[in-house]
């Protein structure tokens, strides 16, 4: 019997996958790997504000879930490179659209925030 997965069920394993992927650092890492492999230090430089520890932990989670692969080259010092797997490729277009959505819609979001805050202020002042 085929196992039916349903992300709305809290005990379904897909819920844990969604929990790990629905993370700004995971999304930015995957997005940055689109197109070509990237070294650890380059990821750290490009994704501003990420700490070495969080980058390392997030890469491990994404590797364990099969979305990216890690390659070590015996240079001095050692070079560590990350790349999307086929599984990662199957999600990358969606990840990229999601990660960059706010860049295209930031003005509309800011306008909504102003309206919301005005409404909250007039309600509390009534």
């Amino acid at each position: 019997m085929q196992q039916p997965y349903n992300v709305y069920e809290d005990r379904c394993p897909t819920r844990q996958v969604l929990d790990r992927l629905a993370d700004k650092w995971a999304l930015l890492i995957l997005d940055r790997l689109q197109g070509a492999p990237v070294r650890f230090n380059q990821l750290r430089r490009d994704i501003q504000g990420i700490s070495q520890k969080v980058l390392s932990q997030t890469l491990k989670k994404l590797e364990r879930d099969g979305l990216l692969s890690r390659s070590v080259f015996a240079t001095v010092p050692v070079t560590v490179e990350y790349a999307l797997t086929d599984l990662g490729q199957s999600l990358i277009q969606t990840v990229s659209t999601f990660a960059h959505w706010a860049e295209q819609h930031m003005d509309a979001v800011l306008l909504a925030q102003v309206k919301y805050d005005e409404g909250a202020a007039s309600t509390s002042g009534a």
Copy 2:
């Protein structure tokens, strides 16, 4: 001069939007609103494991960012209904694909996890 938004910059306001949207509860709420408005209590029932407090807080954040609207009907008891706005509609296809991705790829993810854990075990045993 037009403001260039860049989600890779940690001080860009798009980074905070991504941080709020890249959340499993936010994604499941938006996905559940696809197609038609839904009442608060229905959302709570359908999204298993979400607490009333987290649902309420996440709905407020999504409303403030302009992705959904809240309507109150003077029934007894009062009915509160949530619906996607046009801004929310602009992201819903991406959200839906992202939220349900694991359901289609869970077997591949589980296989990757087994391989990763075997590799970690053989490394630590060497």
